[in-house]
Amino acid sequence: MYQYNGFDTAFLKERNLQFRDQVQRRISGALSEEEFKPLRLMNGLYLQLHAYMLRVAIPYGTLNSAQMTALASIAEKWDKGYGHFTTRQNIQFNWPKLQDVPDILDALAEVEMHAIQTSGNTIRNVTADHFAGAAADEIEDPRPYAELLRQWSTDHPEFQFMPRKFKIAVSGSAKDRAVTRAHDIGLLLKKRGAEIGFEVIIGGGLGRTPMIGKTLCDFLPKSDLLPYVEAIVSVWNLLGRRDNKYKSRIKITVHEKGLQEIQRLVLQRFSELRPQFKGQDQTFLNALKKAFATPAWIDTPTTTFHENYATYPNFKSWVDINTSPHRNNDYAIATVSLKTPGQTPGDASSAQMRVVAQLAKTYSHDELRISHAQNIVLPHVHKSHLFALYNGLYPAGLATANAGLISDIIACPGMDYCALATARSIPVAQEIALRFKALKLEHDIGPLQIKISGCINACGHHHVGHIGILGLDRAGVENYQITLGGDATETATIGERAGPGFDASTIVSAIERVVFTYLDLRLSYLETFIETFRRVGAPPFKAALYPDASEGKNAA
């Protein structure tokens, strides 16, 4: 893992002093609320429905046990004893007091963490595949590049007052686990012959106008990464619309100007910027690659694992569902579910954070990850330790075997917390999870991603859920629209709207009808929901959703 050097430490100390001063000047009146707002946002501090919210970055989703323990302590000392992990590898504290925030930032700095650029019209926390450095199918670990981008984008003087936020995701595998095609820039490491380079995708995004990103450059030499990304952001900083915040993201710029014109402008800017990078970035990159080198694997027999797997059905089920192939055959990647039916998706209590931190220290080479699906991942667990890990997770309510299943729901905080929300998300997620738990059908249904957003901004990724739910406000009443057939992976697809929405009392039964339709139509239990949907199309699902509707009457 990356560890701060003297430069990083001094930078963060100075930055936190600046923010402490800004808070003081806001209180004294030297800064107006209008002026303070972008400053607090670029330090992760939002004003939400009921209180301030502090969003802390977990760069590329990687953290160690000391960092997780510090998050637990912060939640206890300055918040209400829990935190919320988000789809962009951040953790949100929902109840900090403004005057405490500088102290919280200092506490974060002690474990090399910060809240810089987790909000505002800046380059946001750079995200990456949560299985990076562990996945069996990986071409190269994306994290050294993500850390290089973190450093380059941090406090970048040109890019703190942009038209809108700007999100970058990096993946090093052909399997896209980082939703790269729904980012302003998605970077995919890929092989051409013996050489590895980046496919650069731009203009993806969800929100009001969902778009799948387009390939700007098919194969970028790795050493050109920073000047090329800088060229893109520089072009958009001048070109992106500032008159309408719903049209300001780069996806709209690309849509309005055309991909070819953007390509021309980016190449022109790149030619001006390339000579500015004279090699030090590559020297740093090589050091970063060493920092992210694989841990020293342990080499012991896995006999006990196989015995326990054969003996304990609950353990077997958890292994089957919550572990993924590791590049070392004797290891597994374990997903720790924060989606036990009935809980708020992505929330973890301080006690749970401490338990998982200790388990990661003992059984995962001191490494943890946060996934965009709002779960915790222990990336390096030797198979001989899986049973002990499972037994450590179980009493903390962290051993639910549902990774990738119907109750593993992505949900934004919705109207329970968020100032932008138009409907609640959390109760819908809880009810769906509890309904299918009661039906005891979850494992039979198999892989199925439900994603819920409480407003059009789509933080819950509903457009790319196999089943997406969008909560809106219809004349003061919550109304939930269903989208079908979305896909967040390398075959990214925006789901199509099924028809008129449902109210809070009927949405769960509507989802049930969609799922039962799938169970009726699938060729066998091997055909997943999304495969069945692609084979038969939307009509049978719509018929199940709107049994009384005659054709053509459903234009809502």
Binding site: E14, E35, F159, L226, F277, K278, Q280, D281
Partner: protein
């Protein structure tokens, strides 16, 4: 130099690394670019030694990119940012290539000289200059 309240009320206050000073430029000797300037038109005759880039409001950061482009294209004269920029943006402006900032007297009263001097250490702690050093 300390800020003097008896300056012409229309006159901007100029902020540099050494604090506040009076504006000595005359309109005739400077070239001004608005934030919406197309970068393809951002080319200067060699004789020009005084350039102003105007910021319509502090949240509009196009001027930072324009400044950087001017420097990349070889402009070596004095580069001034003019507009309702706040002291917290001073380091950004300097790092982007500006030499000085022209703010209104009202702004200078609300954000006194010490707020700007607080960021006069703008060369320190810059990730970007680290990454752009020679390898």
């Amino acid at each position: 130099m300390a800020f003097k309240k008896d300056w012409n009320t229309q006159m901007d206050v100029i902020v540099t690394d050494s604090g506040f000073s009076a504006d000595t430029w005359s309109v005739e000797t400077t070239l001004s670019f608005a934030s919406e300037t197309d970068p393809e038109n951002l080319i200067l005759p060699k004789a020009i030694q005084r350039v102003v880039i105007t910021f319509p409001n502090f949240a509009d950061g196009r001027g930072f990119t324009l400044a950087r482009l001017l420097r990349l294209r070889g402009y070596t004269g004095i580069l001034r940012a003019k507009g309702p920029i706040i002291s917290d943006q001073y380091a950004m402006a300097r790092r982007s290539g500006f030499d000085e900032i022209a703010i209104s007297q009202a702004q200078a009263l609300r954000q006194p000289e010490k707020d700007w001097l607080f960021r006069s250490n703008w060369t320190a702690h810059s990730y970007q200059s680290r990454l752009q050093a020679s390898g």
